[in-house]
């Protein structure tokens, strides 16, 4: 099974071969994890979304025409499901804020306390992951794909289904935002 190409694995999955499906998951688990966890943080929801990526692929396997690589295709599903999850979280948090209209000052002081706690124990790697989660989801998706996953502008545009110019402008804005947040979180350079 290990020696088979992606194309051969897909043909076996189309014949309901679950061992082939497991092999495909083993091959792409880390790639999907990098996308989903960098988008959502290392949470139980991220694990659920990761599972959903592969189940979505399995259920729609006949729609995969092979025009892009399997990795790119799975990354696209992972990004879309992560963005859906972030929207869901936003709606949930808006509902929570509506029913528990806390004092804004109290919220702000909690945020500061959280940041201080982090500064005391963190290293640069944790700081980046923490900062990334504070960047707007649209900008974050471009940063994750371009700067962490290593996709080029063309591939990023293809995955996100946006023009290349938009990728470049979001990357630039995202980088500036990330720098600002890193400095706010106490990053002092190497």
């Amino acid at each position: 099974m290990k020696n088979l190409s992606d194309e051969q694995i897909i043909q076996l999955i189309k014949k309901n071969d679950q061992k082939a499906f497991k092999e495909l998951i083993d091959r792409y688990e880390k790639k999907v994890a990098a996308t989903v966890i960098n988008m959502l943080g290392n949470t139980d929801e991220a694990d659920d979304v990761g599972q959903e990526v592969f189940i979505r692929f399995y259920n729609n396997i006949f729609q995969f025409k092979g025009t892009s690589s399997l990795g790119t295709y799975l990354t696209r599903i992972a990004i879309n499901l992560s963005l859906n999850e972030l929207k869901r979280r936003k709606i949930k948090s808006m509902r929570f804020d509506f029913w528990n209209s806390s004092n804004p000052e109290e919220i702000k002081s909690n945020e500061i306390a959280d940041t201080n706690r982090f500064e005391n124990k963190s290293d640069a790697k944790n700081l980046v992951q923490k900062a990334l989660l504070k960047v707007d989801s649209k900008l974050r998706s471009v940063i994750v794909l371009r700067m962490i996953e290593g996709y080029d502008t063309h591939e990023t545009a293809e995955i996100l289904e946006i023009p290349q110019g938009t990728v470049l402008s979001r990357l630039s804005r995202g980088q500036e935002k990330l720098k600002t947040i890193l400095i706010q979180l106490g990053y002092e350079g190497s």
Partner: protein, 101 residues
């Protein structure tokens, strides 16, 4: 406030460790898939309820509009009025049905 370059940011980003899912990920995915496949049709509709949510909201909104319109026109919410039969007697309705059948 310290400022730093794009190159410095890129270097920092490259240090980010590749995160991983919890152990036995593929086994959990296959298990979940099997559970989905064993669900009856109603069960899978419930599992996919998020997909159906927008249609449910649209239908509920349409029903509310219908109720509001009916109330505005007739001043009450009787089923006869909702079906547009408020102005007809039982005999007239039965005669119409018999003629159609």
């Amino acid at each position: 406030m310290k400022n730093f370059t794009d190159q410095e940011l890129q270097k920092l980003m490259s240090q980010v460790t590749k995160p991983e899912f919890r152990p036995f990920f593929s086994t959990r995915v296959v298990g979940k898939l099997e559970r989905y496949q064993n669900l009856p049709i109603i069960g899978s509709l419930i599992v996919n309820r998020l997909y159906l949510k927008r249609y449910v909201y649209t239908a509920a909104f349409g029903l509310l509009l219908l109720l509001a319109f009916s109330f505005y026109q007739e001043g009450n919410l009787k089923l006869d009025n909702l079906l547009g039969l408020g102005n007809y007697s039982d005999d007239e309705i039965l005669n119409y049905i018999n003629s159609v059948i």
